[in-house]
């Protein structure tokens, strides 16, 4: 089965619900197992010769920071789905992803700040990466405010889709500006030219945790999408009820 036919099949909310009902238990189990392995491995990881035990914060900070950006990417694809292909589930996917993405961004900020306190001596440093993530967090909150401001879900969906795509175009520019504005942070060390410089003892737990958190996001996202579909059903049934009463 090709990707397009899968996507068309999923356009039917009822079929999507039956799929999630089947997939969710497995996803939950896989997430739990991977998280357990990741946590065990990060607990067993040796101390860094420079950062000491604080390197353990990295194992949760980096996955959250990765998801903070990844979720905006997911929402951008969903926004294209809303505006271009008018896929019925795209609105639902975009709306369900926003609070989860905001939560991961918040965690990336807080763990980064808790990591910075022993390393830099302050909780908050106006350094380029922390600042860009803070702006990303503000944009998540703005997007959620937009979703909440409008009663009609499909109208809100189209406005949110435009804003998500504008945000996706702007985020690299913001990142670049903030980098230019202030560069104090240590250079990127996981994905960089010439292979990772991170020691294997840290890299493996980090990758396991990253996969575990990504699975966690997929699980939460599917469950939140299911809730959103049910919420829309409730809404339409309530409108039927109201019109029946009026008649």
């Amino acid at each position: 089965m090709t990707l397009t036919t899968t996507l068309t099949d999923l356009a039917n909310p009822t079929r999507f619900l039956s799929l999630t009902a089947r997939v969710l238990p497995w996803l939950t189990a896989a997430t739990a197992i991977l998280l357990a392995i990741g946590l065990y491995q990060s607990a067993m990881a040796p101390d860094d010769y420079q950062q000491g035990a604080t390197v353990k914060i990295m194992f949760i900070h980096v996955p959250n920071a990765w998801l903070a950006m990844f979720v905006w990417g997911v929402m951008s694809v969903a926004a294209l789905g809303t505006l271009v292909w008018r896929h019925p589930l795209a609105d639902v996917a975009a709306k369900a992803a926003a609070p989860i993405g905001a939560a991961f961004t918040f965690l990336a900020l807080v763990t980064g700040s808790l990591w910075g306190r022993p390393m830099w001596g302050t909780y908050w440093e106006w350094d380029a990466r922390l600042t860009s993530v803070l702006i990303l967090f503000l944009m998540y909150l703005g997007l959620m405010a937009l979703w909440r401001a409008v009663e009609d879900p499909s109208r809100a969906a189209r406005a949110a889709a435009v804003l998500t795509l504008v945000g996706a175009l702007n985020l690299p520019i913001i990142k670049f500006s903030v980098d230019w504005w202030n560069t104090l942070h240590q250079p990127a060390s996981v994905f960089r030219m010439g292979g990772p410089t991170l020691d294997r003892a840290f890299l493996i737990p980090l990758l396991v945790m990253a996969v575990a958190f990504s699975l966690l996001f997929v699980t939460l996202h599917l469950a939140a999408m299911r809730n959103e579909i049910l919420r829309r059903r409730v809404r339409s049934l309530q409108m039927m009820q109201a019109s029946r009463k009026a008649a």
Partner: protein, 59 residues
């Protein structure tokens, strides 16, 4: 496993992540229950979907 002099920071960050993730899980679970409850209520009061199928049926 010794956490060194910065143990409070490490423990706080792990606790916070756990708390927020648990909050998300609980919020989504309760939201699911609430929507299902409302659907059952609406069905009990005689409102049915145009397709005639049960609204709370997710299979």
């Amino acid at each position: 496993m010794s956490l060194g002099p910065y143990a409070p920071f490490i423990v706080t960050s792990y606790v916070l992540v756990t708390a927020v993730v648990l909050f998300l899980i609980l919020w989504i679970t309760f939201d699911y229950r609430r929507q299902m409850h409302r659907l059952h209520e609406l069905e009990a009061s005689g409102i049915v979907r145009r397709s005639g199928r049960s609204a709370a049926d997710t299979r």
